[in-house]
Amino acid sequence: LFLASSSNKYAVSHSLFVCSQQKELMSKKRDEFEDILEERRLSSDLRYAMKCYTPVIYKGLSPCKPNAIKSAVLQSEQVQYVIKQLAKEMGESPDIIQEEATEILDEMGHSMQLGAVRFFAFTLSKIFKQLFQRVCVNEEGMQRLQHAIQEHPVVLLPSHRSYVDFLMLSYLLYTYDLALPVIAAGIDFLGMKIVGELLRRAGAFFMRRSFGGNRLYWAVFAEYVKTMLRSGYAPIEFFLEGTRSRTAKTLTPKFGLLSIVMEPFFKREVFDTYLVPISISYERILEESLYAYELLGVPKPKESTSGLLKARRILSDNFGTIHIYVGQPVSLRTLASGRINRCPYNLVPRHLPQKPSEDIQEFVSDVAYKMELLQIENMVLSPWVLVAAVLLQNLPAMDFELLIEKTLWLKGLTQTFGGFIEWPDNLCAKKAVVSGLTLHSNIARLVDGHVVLNDKGVEDGAVGEIVFKRALAILMCATYRNQLLNVFVRPSLVAVALQMTRSFRKEEVYSCFSFLRDVFSDEFIFFPGISLKDFEEGCFLLTKCDAIQTSQQEIYPTDKGSVIVSFLSTMFRPFVEGYQLIFRYLSKETKEVFTEKQFIPGVRNFVFQLLEKGNTQCYEALSSDMQKNALAALVQLGYNHGKLSWQLMALSYSLMPLFRKLIG
């Protein structure tokens, strides 16, 4: 089925092959980093917090108070229209609904105050110095941002790995005398006493987790965001991923907020809008163990102030270096030129809510993926990421010297693939590995010249407990390897496809690649609809590191390439195996309708039992992230093939042989 349908596509666009990938990948030049904590360690934090702060702002800004924004939103034609509509439909007085809208606004709105900002500047200086060795920023990026902020409304799109992200970003903008952003935060923060209000004063505004059905909420929220954007009140910051990635792997983007911030441009209320991808990489993630527990089904603790206070013991721990790379601001106008016909917006008064056309939706989705790919491109990879990737392929124990050798080898490969490794020139491999091990001593340690995972207490517990502890250690370690995956995914899926098809015919390899790309579409970030281009890129990278040779019709692994090909496919094996297990579970599922809440514990138990019996070694299949992604991919595939979602079981069953072939 899959092979047949995609081979046609391949034939059609074959001529595109071997096109301009090279240039794109070779010309990546990145900025230098500066450590902003260095200055903090030398001078007074208090003076820093009280410094004269006259930020660079948008040139067209007419300054206004947070409350003025709220009343402008409330009085706007957009919100008033929805209020009147709802009043008519519900037979209520508009005043009551207006009241409701006011409450929503009060719950949502930020109330940025310089005092709170200074408070944060002071306390965060103290905390960051305690937690991190260095906070490195590309200063050129900050300069570009400074220009952008003056020119057009700016939307900051950072990656999301930790709560530290938005604190750090505001801290950074304060340090560089740039306008502080207003930040879309989850409403759950408001559950935290004092802290919630403090964040509000530092510029956070709060959105409910889901409000699709609530028209009033949607109208008020959208108008609130757009009003701030249009007036250039402050840069708007939100996370495309929607939530913190528990796996350190970029999550597939959410489109809602992005389409809201793009709308003023579509309606020509602003001349242009800058989208700024920002990559924040942590050498060690603050929440790493919390995430691992969560993925294994131990629920995440609710945000609470007391929880925060308890967490302060982490202050004595060391979390290494943070790298923040502020990417090139991307002009929405440039992205849209020649692509978006804004005429449909001409025929409707602008205050009427208008569902975006399919074209627009597709465009928003493309932009979202593009921004995430830009984030990924500039994520800094620490040596430890390489160590983790090597280690996971050599469990339970690996010879220390071999680990060093392999790490160094992987460093070269990663750089060939365009990965951004922060590895000082004079740092020898041994030191790099040792320092990684020291920083992550909770994950792995050196015992008798061998590196082993730190799954303490494994020997003496019950079987179940051993599996759980081991799973924890592996998931934590995987969090670091995962940072490599989006850089490696294209060549690796070619490698996997090569092994799977056992054929050299390019067409067949491509079909298989394309199938894998579809299956893993929620697991890794692929720009929509360019399967062939991704395949070409994968092949190109493999050729570049001499792993394969290609001709018009065929792909051959080279003799020395087998090491690379096998490393790459092993790297993705947990996903291939994990998906197989999940599909196996699904194909046995007898219920016609089930919810995600039922599915996750079910599949978890299923995998857990297999692990206990020793029938599989795929600990990563326990990750709820993978389980959800596999289900989502299956739903999508089922949808693509015109099947109803309750026939997923049948579909997953039909996929099994393919996957079995993969594992060989």
Binding site: G60, E77, K267, R268, E269, V270, F271, N341, R342, C343, Y345, N346, L347, P349, R350, H351
Partner: protein, 528 residues
């Protein structure tokens, strides 16, 4: 009339011996007035310098003019009709162009590739009928000519036209009426009634008198197929779509308008100018919108942005000598007003408008300022000729736009012009300014003025045209605005027609053309 610029020969801007600007002639109120700060303004705004002067040819070089090729049989027939005609080079060149920037540029520096071969001056309807018949008989191309004030290349002869081109000049057909039509386009002194009809013209005082489509009662047009007219002069008909609407805006592609019956009004007893200063453009637009909503717009109400206000100050010193408390002179903007009617009503009306203005933070700024503002309208076309002497080229664009988009449109277009100039290598930031010039129930009409110093650019017209295309694209595609609310499409912007009115809409117009003029006698290639 000038052969290579706007208007009368005796009226123009010059720099006198002291290096001060002066407007010559006695036709305008500005005539003979010295404008001491004007030089400074032109230097400050464009980085232009009086030392760097371009040289236009002093007179037309007859040898450059393409020869007149007219079939002798046609000439014989034409002579028989006793209609006066000319094959003289100057007469032909004068009717080969309108007043687009690039046309004037060609006049100053080069020559048109194709111009009319012969000019004819019919004096009555019957003359026109005869000429059209002859054209059909000899297969000639007719291009009707009114006042020659077109700004859309409508009068340019299609280069590929192989037939003899007859320029049919109707300007002498306009008799002195002595009545008031109330229709006052900015080009009023020079344009013609037939031209107004054929171009769907708009007038400054349309708030009282209406645009041409509201004024016209009856039209007679000579077409190759015959004469088209209604059989009555009633105020309204419901006999299918109004055929007048095929004629108005047909831009000389269907025939020649020979007779127009138009509403006339008594000359207004009383006229009063006025002006209001607003703290910013936003408030000004909001006020105009409210005025439109209450349907109490005076004969004319216009809002100029800050750049144009500055220009007003600099060009005519004393304009707005008042100090406005709390208004930032770099943000404020001015509305100019013109009331017409009987005295009592005017005063009443005036109060109503000023009351609304007060609600939007406006302050009355006196009659003089208002009157000067309107005076500028009539001389601004002369200003371009002066600019051309000093490497400054400029043009105006106009558009109409729904109320909710006025502000965004103004900001975006101005920004786009500045940006585009920068990208195209224009060294000095351009003048990019706008004026909300008409109010309607559903929106407003906006004029943009744009000028830049082209020293250092090898092909300024090309740069200008790129910016123009950009402008049109911005407007048509994005802003929800419409091109040409008041001006016509001509050839300059006809490629946007399809997007504006859809394929079927275009097809409807084409089928009318095919029926009325199957051999394309009226071959100026406008519109379609």
């Amino acid at each position: 009339m000038k052969w290579n610029g706007w208007g009368y020969n005796d009226s123009k801007f010059i720099f006198n011996k002291k290096g001060q600007a002066e407007f010559t002639g006695k036709r305008y109120r500005l005539g003979g007035m010295v404008l001491p700060t004007f030089k400074e303004w032109i230097e400050k705004t464009f980085g232009a310098s009086l030392e760097h002067k371009t040289t236009s040819r002093a007179s037309l070089n007859v040898n450059d003019v393409p020869p007149s090729i007219v079939n002798e049989e046609f000439l014989q027939d034409l002579r028989a009709t006793k209609i006066s005609y000319s094959q003289d080079a100057e007469d032909r060149v004068f009717r080969a162009h309108g007043h687009c920037l690039h046309e004037i540029f060609v006049l100053r520096e080069g020559m048109f590739k194709r111009i009319p071969d012969i000019v004819v001056w019919p004096v009555c309807h019957e003359d026109v009928v005869k000429i059209v018949e002859l054209a059909c008989k000899h297969n000639l191309c007719i291009i009707p000519f009114g006042g020659g004030t077109s700004v859309s290349s409508a009068l340019e002869c299609p280069e590929e036209e192989k037939r003899t081109i007859v320029s049919l000049d109707t300007s002498q057909m306009l008799a002195e009426s002595g009545f008031c039509t109330g229709h006052e386009p900015d080009s009023m002194e020079f344009s013609s009634l037939g031209g107004w009809v054929a171009t769907r013209a708009s007038g400054m005082k349309k708030n009282i008198y209406g645009n041409i489509e509201d004024l016209v009662i009856h039209i007679k047009m000579v077409t190759p197929r015959g004469i088209v007219e209604k059989n009555c002069q009633v105020p309204r008909m419901s006999t299918g779509p109004d055929i007048h609407h095929f004629i108005m805006g047909s831009e000389g592609t269907l025939g020649v308008v020979t007779e127009v019956t138009i509403k006339i009004r008594p000359v207004p007893e009383y006229q009063k100018y006025g002006s209001v200063v607003f703290p910013n453009f936003e408030r000004g637009v909001a006020c105009l919108r409210e005025v439109a909503k209450q349907r109490c717009a005076p004969a004319s109400i216009r809002l100029v942005d800050n750049a144009q206000f500055q220009f007003g100050i600099d060009i005519i010193q004393g304009f707005l000598s008042l100090q406005f408390k709390g208004f930032d002179p770099n943000i404020l903007c001015v509305a100019t007003l013109l009331f017409e009617g009987d005295r009592e009503k005017v005063l009443q009306h005036e109060k109503q408008v000023y009351d609304i203005a007060t609600k939007f933070g406006g302050l009355a700024a006196g009659e003089d300022n208002g009157q000067r503002g309107y005076m500028l309208t009539f001389v601004i076309a002369y200003l371009r000729d002066l600019g051309l002497d000093y490497y400054v080229i400029g043009e105006s664009f106009e558009t109409s736009v729904p109320w909710d988009r006025v502000l965004d449109l103004c900001r975006n277009v101005k920004e786009r012009i500045v940006r585009e100039c920068k990208e195209k290598g224009v060294q000095f930031a351009p003048l990019s300014t706008c004026r909300v010039t008409q109010t309607y129930d559903a929106g407003a009409c906006v004029y943009f003025y744009f000028a830049f110093n082209y020293r250092g650019i090898s092909d300024p017209i090309h740069v200008y045209e790129q910016i123009e295309v950009m402008y049109v694209r911005t407007v048509v595609k994005g802003e929800g605005a419409k091109l040409m609310s008041h001006n016509i499409l001509g050839k300059l912007r006809k490629r946007w027609m399809k997007e504006s009115i859809s394929d079927v809409g275009l097809g409807m117009l084409r089928s009318v053309k095919e029926y009325v003029d199957p051999n394309n006698i009226f071959g100026n290639k406008n519109l379609l």
